[in-house]
């Protein structure tokens, strides 16, 4: 066990994989000498060389497309988007080339795309996005979103060893704020949900940065026993764990940071409304960012992003239902 930040855990997983498997390769803008915009690959070039920790041209479509090419001839590329928002520029290669490859022709594309995502620090409309729902809607792409240092490492190990394209949603706001014990060495975290706190009166279903928000918001709700389910993986989605929580708690609040419409939370709520209906003792309440670009100015951003207060309020109301 070592105590690491969420960011250190990501670096550690990358370093371990580069050491363990010569097929692993890191590609991205400024990931080399500079160590990446968030310093996740700081010092990597010294140990692994600039060919395995490759500074690419400023070209997201090329980063994804070239990674697909490298993957189908036997490498294990890990691509870094400087910010998750920029995947919009490589979207076609990701969903049409990488995502549909195996179904169409049985050709595996072992590829990881790291997406520093989310808001909370005045990043504004283009440095705060949470694009995971776009990938969830595109068949053939796995999507994981850790909320703890341990899961950041374990999910990244599993993602790199997965024979499929995996979008690794790493929340920028957790990079240095989240610390935790992380087992030594390589370990793989399964793409399943995790009960962050067991409870029986209500369950908050969330992932990524919203897990801490949910834990804090429900730490003391007039003594109510509130479960917090950390999805960890969005594709595959752990339907069994979700429905199990629902059956035990009967009341559900679904929280995600992305814009509300057609978000991951919409899928979770729809799933529950169809397969968990009989267990429900109240409406499936959602908390998410309203459908606006994430504004830059602190008061505006705070008014848009789901925070502790909004989650508290949603839970209180539903508990009183």
């Amino acid at each position: 066990m070592a105590t690491m930040t969420y960011l250190q855990a990501i670096s550690s997983a990358l370093r371990d994989e580069l050491r363990a498997d010569e097929r692993v390769l890191i590609m991205g803008e400024d990931v080399g000498e500079f160590g990446g915009a968030f310093k996740v690959t700081d010092g990597f070039v010294a140990e692994f060389g600039s060919e395995r920790v490759m500074d690419t041209p400023l070209a997201e479509s090329a980063i994804i497309g070239c990674a697909v090419g490298a993957a189908v001839v036997g490498l294990r590329p890990v691509c870094e988007m400087q910010f998750a928002d920029f995947i919009s520029c490589g979207f076609d290669q990701l969903v049409n080339v990488a995502g549909k490859m195996h179904y169409r022709q049985g050709l595996a594309v072992p590829l990881v795309v790291r997406l520093p995502s989310g808001g909370g620090f005045s990043g504004g409309p283009f440095h705060s996005q949470n694009p995971e729902a776009l990938f969830m809607h595109s068949p053939g792409i796995k999507v994981v979103a850790p909320s703890t240092a341990e899961d950041a490492k374990g999910l990244l190990h599993a993602a790199i060893r997965d024979p499929n394209p995996v979008c690794f949603m790493e929340h920028k706001h957790l990079y240095r704020r989240v610390k935790g014990d992380v087992p030594e060495g390589v370990f793989e975290t399964p793409f399943t949900a995790r009960v962050a706190r067991p409870g029986s009166d209500l369950v908050v279903i969330c992932y990524g940065a919203m897990v801490d928000v949910a834990l804090e918001a429900t730490a003391d709700l007039d003594g109510a026993s509130v479960e917090v389910l950390d999805l960890r993986s969005l594709v595959p989605l752990d339907e069994e764990a979700i429905l199990d929580s629902v059956s035990r708690c009967s009341k559900v609040v679904v929280v995600d940071e992305a814009n509300m419409t057609c978000a991951a939370g919409a899928q979770v709520a729809a799933l529950i409304a169809e397969k968990g209906f009989e267990d429900l003792d109240g409406p499936v309440v959602r908390v998410a960012s309203p459908d606006v670009p994430i504004p830059f100015s602190p008061p505006l951003e705070a008014a848009v992003l789901p925070g502790v207060e909004r989650v508290k309020e949603a839970c209180r109301e539903l508990l009183a239902y």
Partner: protein, 353 residues
């Protein structure tokens, strides 16, 4: 640099420096198979046996045949929608091609993808996606992997004149140029992008761009299969010896509509007539006759092969719907692309043939 015209095809009669007679016959056979398979597939389409739409490469056979013939077994290809001869050369049996067109179980994609959207991963080919020219980046990435591993291998892809307008063309050309990668880009200039003529697609012939990306650009008579072979062989040896990418512009003509439904009213009759005189199959046939080859026998053999293949495919089942939801993800180990056939005598054994 950008406009060196590749050496003209060796004179009609007489030896070829790199092609033995058997090779030259192989090239012709590949073109005959492409033309024959596509003509048969078109009539199957008219009979309603080929679902969706149907695209062919009539008049462009030399481009895929000549280029693919220069590729080694361990090289990797992204084959496009006018390039059937490349599949034939890499070793895809005609019956599987017919089955592919008809969406049958025995097709290369077992009915999951359509018509020309296929590539046999066991033969070193990645099936194209519709979005053009996305495969340029996949080819560039394969070449990047070869370079990183220090392997003397090459990646090649084809793409059309119209698709050069898209951003991925640029991202691939730039990346390949910056990293000096062993990749060959074959620009198939068939004068049209669907109905759109070249002058609405670019102001300057794209081969001119190669120099601006720091690598070689050559223009080739795309209707001369041996010239295509020569240019590609040179590009490949440049690539595997660390000389970087090459952009080959194969000048040719799309002699049929964009797809089966297209009457190509927008193409001047004279243009078609003029290009008819440069038919790549006739051209190679003349060459072979002059070399004393019994071309009629060759044709007869190819026709028989196509008859048998079509019959086999027609007798095969449609895919079963069980398992239609499976295979979105790879469950086992990721298995990289395998080697393809490489019949050129220059590769000795003929590679994995």
């Amino acid at each position: 640099m950008a406009t060196d015209i590749a050496a003209p095809a060796s004179v009609e009669v007489g030896e070829h420096e790199h092609l033995q007679l058997a090779d030259r016959i192989w090239l012709h056979r590949a073109m005959l198979l492409m033309r024959g398979i596509e003509e048969r597939a078109m009539s199957l389409y008219r009979q309603g046996k080929v679902p969706g739409s149907f695209y062919d490469g009539f008049g462009q056979e030399a481009v895929s045949a000549g280029a693919a013939f220069a590729m080694a077994a361990e090289d990797r290809l992204c084959i496009l929608h006018r390039d059937l001869a490349a599949h034939v050369i890499r070793g895809v049996p005609p019956a599987r091609i017919f089955a592919q067109y008809m969406g049958r179980a025995a097709g290369v994609t077992a009915g999951r993808d359509g018509n020309v959207h296929f590539g046999d991963r066991h033969l070193g080919c990645v099936g194209m996606v519709s979005m053009l020219p996305d495969m340029m980046l996949v080819a560039t990435g394969m070449a990047m992997a070869f370079r990183l591993r220090g392997e003397p291998r090459c990646a090649l892809t084809w793409f059309g004149d119209g698709s050069t307008s898209r951003g991925d063309f640029h991202e691939a050309m730039n990346w390949a140029g910056v990293q000096k990668l062993p990749v060959v880009f074959v620009l198939e200039n068939n004068q049209y992008a669907y109905s759109t003529p070249l002058d609405k697609q670019f102001a300057v012939d794209p081969v001119e761009r190669a120099a601006a990306y720091g690598f070689a650009g050559v223009t080739v008579d795309g209707n001369d299969v041996e010239a295509m072979f020569d240019a590609t062989r040179e590009a490949r040896s440049r690539a595997v010896s660390g000389g970087g990418p090459t952009l080959i512009e194969a000048v040719t003509m799309r002699m049929h509509g964009h797809a089966a439904h297209d009457d190509m009213k927008y193409v001047p009759k004279e243009q078609v007539a003029e290009w008819k005189l440069r038919d790549p199959v006739d051209r190679q046939e003349k060459r072979l006759r002059a070399l004393g080859v019994d071309v009629d026998e060759l044709r007869a053999g190819v026709t028989a092969e196509i008859d048998a293949a079509a019959a086999e495919a027609l007798s095969g089942p449609m895919p079963s719907v069980e398992g239609v939801l499976e295979g979105v993800f790879c469950e086992g180990e990721a298995e990289p692309l395998g080697d393809g056939h490489a019949p050129w005598s220059g590769f000795g054994s003929g590679g994995a043939a």
